[in-house]
């Protein structure tokens, strides 16, 4: 993505954006997924997209939630029905790179790696990728308008259950 202008983001905006991004990683890692989902707007999208599909122009995602209600459904299923490897996630984030601002929506990209640890204490690199976020910053704080997690580790080690 091309940066639209020399970035002179107000420091208050940056603090709110960065707080949302880091807090969202902490919420996922501590299994506070309901709270994490609440940081999306009602029409907020959450997509996990293999890098190869992005490069080839294919729309198939691994997770595709076109609004918050659908993300809530994924959580319902995860809590009630899904079976997966019991594990702990640890998101490691880069500093965010500010890409543009349009009205009150900030576009920002953040690299991530996720290290997954089994319950017997063995850690492995699980996923590398970049968050392409569109975040609304208003008086009351920052919310996700859209989060697309483009993953480089698109030959997924076994499965993805908890959100990226």
């Amino acid at each position: 993505m091309e940066r639209t202008a020399a970035m002179t983001f107000p420091i208050e905006t940056r603090l709110l954006v960065e707080d949302l991004i880091t807090r969202s990683a902490m919420l996922i890692d501590s299994d506070a997924l309901e709270e994490w989902v609440a940081s999306f707007e009602e029409t907020g999208r959450y997509i996990v997209l293999p890098r190869e599909n992005r490069d080839l122009g294919y729309a198939i995602a691994l997770i595709k939630c076109e609004k918050r209600a659908i993300l809530e459904d994924r959580l319902t299923v995860l809590r009630a029905a899904s079976k997966f490897n019991p594990h702990v996630d640890r998101h490691i984030l880069s500093r965010p790179c500010y890409m543009g601002i349009e009205g009150d929506i900030v576009s920002v990209q953040t690299n991530f790696t996720i290290v997954q640890s089994s319950l017997d204490g063995v850690s492995k690199l699980f996923c590398a990728g970049v968050y392409e976020d569109r975040i609304r910053v208003s008086g009351d704080g920052a919310t996700f308008v859209e989060r697309v997690a483009v993953i480089d580790t698109f030959s997924v080690p076994n499965l993805i259950a908890t959100p990226i």
């Binding site: 198939i60 209600a69 899904s82 499965l159 259950a161």
Partner: protein, 418 residues
Amino acid sequence: MRVSVNWPTTDYSRVPYSIYHDPEIYALEQERIFKGKAWNILCLEAEIPNPGDFQICHVGDTPVVVNRDEDGKVYAFVNRCAHRGAEIVREPRGNGTDHTCIYHAWCYSRKGELTGVPFRRGANGKGGMPASFEPKQHNLQTLKVESFKGCLFGSFDHDIEPLEEYLGPLMVDHVGGLLDKPIKILGYQRQRIKANWKLYPENIKDAYHGSLLHEFNRTFGLSRLTQVAGGYMDEKHRHSILFQFSGSDSDEVALRAYREAGVQRGELMKLNDYDMVRIIPENDKGMSTRVINLFPNGFFHQIANTLAMRKLRTLGVDEFELTWTLFGYEDDTPEMTEHRLNQANMVGPAGLISMEDGEALELVHRTTKTAQNEYAVIEMGGVGPIGDRDTRVNEVTVRGFWAYYSQLMGIAPEGAEQ
């Protein structure tokens, strides 16, 4: 190679755990199955539509270049240089007039023929290849390629039966139905599962687990043991289809049955948005789900309105990669495409009805490693002769896999069921 397997029964109702772990068996599988008398799925024609388009595929663990020549024909050859064995094509896909190895720049045509050896006659009258060197004798190993309605298959055995004969009428009917009009590729999902590859066709042929492991299936009636369903095979029992009709049972009947079986804890779960499980009727058979295995490495599914070809590549005895190629049709409306994209939430490595398979297979692989003198028990649907069943409470299709596998491997016990 002499490999023997100790089958305790002749109907494959017991499967020795060693068969998932023995490196000699793995080596023999590469020879007798993947490089033997079998048609392996390579890719879809729609992935390489134009002359020069190529894709790297794998047959077992052998890397293969599949490409289309100027005349529109598809050729496949092993991606290993005839000089010193380097990998020739390094991009997963692309377009090219020929293929040049980076090491010493030997060049190959799209048919896999050696067309160029730099400095073959030496330099300044010195060096070079001996006069006896005959490029024609150093072409790459090729595969026989055939297309079935746009799905490309390859075989190392150039004398193998014609593809349609290999597939048989049942598979021609169902896979043919899924490929009856021009398809549009929607994208890929991939996963690497740390388990022996055979656990995957077994899983795909196992109707019993569908709603016990995948509770999402049970809740939304996509697959329930109380439904009108079946597990059918071709006459050699190597390919299989599991199918069911949603709406052929009721939530009440299902809930009662699963409660009585002691596996339903509460009510069925509720969603905000039911679009994901909505079925837009599009096949004349009216089946809500069809999951197909084409021996040895190919799979097709129709789950509600998601359609995919899946293919498996082996990565040693302990791991395999699964590629899901999701597709729709050229004549899909934009709404139908969007529906298929949304329903893809159910499949693949993050799929609401498929993520569990990878986990189950890794569990089996991990714990059978240390129990190689013990056996799996496969008796659901009955023991003895192998045949079709009109129920999902059934594992006979799994025994069908072992019967054909063992014949091809030359490891079937005396008097085995076929």
